[in-house]
């Protein structure tokens, strides 16, 4: 290592120049903070990040800084959450996010074939790890771990909604309904 090096540590977070928190979201965040003892604002960070992601679809550098400031923390305290918890998105995702369960009971029920089916239909690589988004930004497909619905395998979520016992026909129908 060169002691004089000025190279910056790469920051995977992306910028969102137009980041602005509307009044309703600010009020929601204010209310969430009241759920915790007054000197324990930090506890609200996961809930605040959820609220931000619900609104913007992802968490940007500016969102991390805003959240930290709101809760009286350093940006690193929020940044380390965004990189630890898989549900938080560090960049914009597709309009429809398809999460197929990968874990054992679903795998036995055909979830790998289901994942492959989606990838092939949407022109994505079924062998790739992690979320993949179609070029038009409409769909994101990814494998996730057990969604606690193993009795109705294979299961998936499209955005916030659960789908159980997903046959390929049902998968096509769901895709067709994504306008």
């Amino acid at each position: 290592m060169n002691a004089g090096s000025t190279e910056r540590i790469p920051n995977p977070l992306q910028h969102q120049p137009q980041f602005a928190v509307p009044g309703a979201l600010e009020a929601e965040v204010g209310e969430l903070i009241t759920h915790y003892p007054p000197d324990k604002k930090r506890s609200a960070s996961l809930m605040v990040l959820h609220a931000i992601q619900e609104h913007f679809g992802w968490i940007s550098q500016e969102a991390v800084e805003w959240t930290a400031q709101k809760l009286g923390l350093q940006p690193i305290n929020i940044y380390e959450l965004v990189t630890f918890y898989p549900m938080f998105r560090q960049r914009p995702m597709g309009k429809y996010q398809i999460k197929v369960c990968r874990t054992l009971s679903c795998a036995l029920g055909g979830s790998y074939k289901l994942h492959k089916h989606f990838c092939e239909k949407l022109g994505l690589d079924p062998h790739k790890h992690g979320p993949q988004t179609t070029k038009d930004g409409k769909f994101t497909v990814e494998f996730v771990e057990c969604l606690a619905s193993c009795g109705t395998a294979p299961v998936m979520m499209v955005n916030d909604e659960f789908y159980e016992g997903v046959s390929h026909a049902k998968a096509d129908e769901v895709l067709g309904n994504c306008k």
Binding site: Y85, S111, C146, A153, D160
Partner: protein, 480 residues
Amino acid sequence: MPQEYRLILKHADQPGYTPGLDCYLRHGGYETLKQALTRAPKTLPDGKTLSGPEQLRDEVKLSGLRGRGGAGFSCGLKWSFVDRKSGKPIYLICNADESEPGTFKDRQIIYKDPHQLLEGMIIACYANDVHLAYIYIRGEFVEGAKILNRALNEARAKNLLGKHILGSGYGLEIHVHRGAGAYICGEETGLIESLEGKRAYPRIKPPYFPAVLGLYQCPTIVNNVETLCAIKHIAAMGGAEYAKLGTPNNTGTRIVSISGHVKRPGYYEVEVGKVTLGELIHDTAFGGGLRDGHSLKAVIPGGSSAKVFKAGEKFKLRRKGPEGREVEQEIDMLDLPYDFDTLIRAGSMSGSGAIIVLDDSTDIVEALANISEFYAHESCGQCTPCREGSLWMSKALHRLTHGEGREQDAEYLAKIADNIPGGRTICAFGEACAWPVQSFVAKFKDEFVAKGKADEERRAKENRAAKPVREIELTLNAKC
């Protein structure tokens, strides 16, 4: 004929039953809470008086209830460890993370009967002098969190929560806190860290036993959703009556989740120990047997962390014989009563009550590779044996399932797995990731060895060395 015994799920699936407060009240809801809040102090023969909350805690002790989250620890005992003299507030957290693969019982309660959980929680909080409690729910239960928030608002509006619950002078507030997709948040101290707004890094015990140094370094009770519902029924029927359900030391009912290769996967509430593993898999009241034309290969009896049982496996266990005397008997895996103690004695556990059935169509190496990938993904990374070990095991299994195996991989896997658990890690995830590998490799060793050997022979014919792991790492298998 063994049957379901629906105590907690009594109403959940009845036609027309809704998660709303009106429906819950029509079915006698919150009557138990009313009685609990107005319990008069009781004077004992020795002149000591027991307050209402103390009586409730005694009932829970008497009930023999064991936690339904995974460890099966006595609930009464856990509550008795709570430091009540510290002068600090006592917190209660409902563990609704439901993250152990194979488990889907808590979601039934949350989605279909949320007020039952709230009533159980309020009673548990009253019994333990708790004034602020949280429900930690996994992030993917988006709708579940909304249902709980709606139920909480309904309860607040009816004075079932707030500063003076039903005019009793007892005050309690409950909030929903959402996780964000990390399995380790189910571990109670990881959960507490997460609730404090940090990464879910489990804490080292001692000193961080939640009952003494939990949330915000205050005494804290963490209980599973189903455990807290059982509290409601114990308060209603009394501990002694509850203890009549189930079997000695394994009292009450529990909800078993059955998935995998059975005809009727689903959740079934049974008296603990009154039904065998085989009945749960084969009986028409439960799993309904294997798919036609298939035979049993293996059973994972308590969530993916539990050690696997092989079809035909026999255990020598001490049991009560016909004359009531204890005798040693040889018992087939399928004849094991499904309870906490028996499964531990058989070398595994009933864990979160999740049974995953594997039939003869299953490639056992693929199945373990699937499980190990889960643990490699979910290790929080604090402890070297767990972080590295779970990844090494997953990589070796990945090799084996991609035609790049070696004959000695079985031994290699066992060696790694043997060096993770047993006090080398901060939390029980170390055990959870090692147990499946240890048991699969030991019980199906020939399949692991054969696969590795076949790969080596094929490569010898192709006259090439095994590909380095990094070249095969990024592919997903579609074979299962």
